[in-house]
């Protein structure tokens, strides 16, 4: 049984169909990449998984529970967190308050403190800036805060939407290193990226999306070497 199983998902924005029946699965411990051009439906997929959008048809099963119609705030309690596109940290709250917000669904103060310590170890810069408001952080720091915030809910699956967007090449490498470390700590990762090369280099498997459908899937290594993919997404 897969950790996440998506079957024939159809999603609409009004009359426009954004997802035209996609199916994929994520196994425990994997990094799975979802790559594709702008407007292919990658973010729509993540929003539907997190309950921000509703599917018209199809099912989403997570940890053997049907979450297709579950409200977004309840999905978090099952151990699924998202690092949204554009970070979306709470700009007027301090770094610490943002992190605490990530642990909103958890009640045990001691456990929250423990997770906070782990997050600070992973992102020392967040501890240095814990009393600063999030709006004053740089783009890279905000990305780290968004990741740290998602980790605060202690998820089994973390959905990451374009974590490298708008960052310098050096920071992009740092972010992808962190993604690998988060994964090796035991968190499964579903990664949406336009930077296909980077995404495929850290992922185990990948799906290629095109205009609301999955056009190709396979081992990340195989896709990296696929001439079609190289031409369309890797700029080679």
């Amino acid at each position: 049984m897969s950790l996440l199983e998506v079957n024939d998902l159809h999603v609409y924005y009004g009359v426009i169909q954004a997802l035209k029946g996609i199916s994929f699965h994520v196994e425990k411990g994997e990094i799975v990449a979802l790559i594709g051009a702008n407007g292919a439906g990658k973010t729509t997929t993540l929003h539907t998984l997190s309950g921000l959008l509703r599917a018209k048809q199809g099912t989403i099963r997570y940890r053997d529970t049907d979450i297709t119609k579950m409200p977004g705030h309840k999905i978090v309690t099952l151990g699924m967190a998202q690092v949204p596109e554009g970070r979306r940290v709470f700009p007027d709250l301090t770094v610490l308050a943002n992190l605490k917000m990530g642990a909103y669904t958890r009640r045990d103060k001691a456990e929250i403190e423990e997770t906070l310590k782990m997050v600070y170890e992973r992102f020392p810069r967040l501890e240095e800036r814990k009393n600063q408001t999030a709006g004053t952080l740089s783009g890279g720091e905000q990305q780290m805060l968004a990741m740290g915030r998602a980790l605060m809910s202690h998820p089994q699956l973390i959905l990451m939407d374009e974590p490298s967007m708008g960052l310098s090449p050096l920071l992009v490498n740092e972010i992808f290193d962190i993604i690998q470390k988060i994964n090796s700590d035991g968190t499964t990762v579903l990664l949406v990226e336009q930077n296909a090369k980077k995404a495929l280099s850290v992922a185990n498997r990948a799906y290629v999306m095109e205009t609301g459908m999955i056009s190709m899937e396979g081992k990340a290594q195989d896709l990296l070497e696929n001439p079609q993919i190289q031409k369309a997404y890797l700029g080679e």
Partner: protein, 295 residues
């Protein structure tokens, strides 16, 4: 000089009432991103609820206020659930705004139907006659002092609630980014309902204080103070709790001083003139932040 001080104190007192009303406006705006133009009429509903309990049924003033808070809370939450939420989910902010105006007329006309158009003479909920200072030259009414103290207490409790409790943190998160708040596991609808409940219950408190200071109650009692409190909320920076307080008091003081020293007919024009000037000079208000448009 003493008379100026007297006017200043009554300005602060009137402003404190505006502030309590403005708190309801500003919290609902900050969290639900809508202007509840029926909010002023919740004051009137609170006023009639207190009138019925205290004068018709002869109940204790304090108990009457508590019951009125309950009535307003139910009406506020009910309005949100029945009238605003379906439209909000349909993604139509303009329809919500117009519906709020409709709710305002509905409440006024329901009150007209139930209580008639004759003004009810209200008895102050504060029986304390007040203080006499400076050898009898400076008299401060009990209701004036109580109003100022109550509004400060409301401000402090709200600040504690928003910054010190889990539900308050959820409000802050929802006010800054509704989608991200959902991703944190916050129930956005529940948070909006809670905000309406608090704002509406505060309207009942404002009703009690307003009708005690200006003891005539009609179905339109809440309309004008409601609009002025909206001006106060904009003046202080809509969405900001301390801003609503500052805006309310500034507005109350200006209104009373303008009425005394300039013209009693022009005082309302001056109050709304301030709204125009604020919107021109600093559209975000005294404590409002400049929101950068992000691309």
């Amino acid at each position: 000089m003493l008379s100026f001080l007297n006017y200043l104190i009554s300005g602060i007192s009137l402003g404190s009432i505006y502030a309590i009303i403005a708190l309801g406006y500003t919290m609902v705006y900050g969290i639900a991103k809508m202007l509840n133009f029926a909010h002023g009429d919740f004051i009137m509903v609170g006023g009639y609820a207190i009138f019925t309990c205290m004068i018709t049924l002869g109940m204790n003033p304090f108990v009457s206020i508590l019951i009125a808070m309950g009535v307003c809370l139910l009406i506020g939450v009910g309005t949100e659930k029945i009238a605003y939420k379906p439209l909000r989910e349909a993604g139509s902010p303009l329809a919500v705004l117009i519906t709020a105006i409709g709710v305002s007329y509905l409440l006024e006309n329901l009150a007209l139907l139930i209580f008639g158009s004759n003004p009810k003479s209200f008895t102050s909920v504060v029986s304390w006659s007040g203080l006499t200072l400076a050898g009898g030259q400076l008299r401060i009414q009990g209701v004036t002092i109580v109003t100022i103290v109550v509004s400060l207490a409301v401000l402090l409790v709200l600040q504690w609630f928003v910054h010190g409790t889990r539900e308050g943190q959820a409000m802050l998160a929802v006010s800054q980014d509704r989608g991200a708040a959902t991703l944190m596991g916050i129930n956005v609808n529940h948070t909006i309902t809670l905000t309406f409940a608090i704002g509406s219950a505060l309207a009942a408190v404002a009703g009690a204080l307003l009708c005690s200071a200006y003891p005539t109650l009609t179905p339109y009692t809440g309309a004008m103070p409601g609009i002025k409190a909206f001006v106060a909320a904009v003046l202080g920076g809509i969405g900001s709790i301390p801003g609503a307080m500052i805006g309310g008091i500034v507005l109350g003081v200006i209104e009373i001083l303008a009425r005394t020293y300039i013209s009693s007919q022009l005082s309302d024009a001056i109050v709304f003139g301030i709204l125009v000037v604020v919107l021109l000079v600093k559209p975000t208000g005294i404590l409002g932040k400049n929101i950068q448009e992000k691309v």
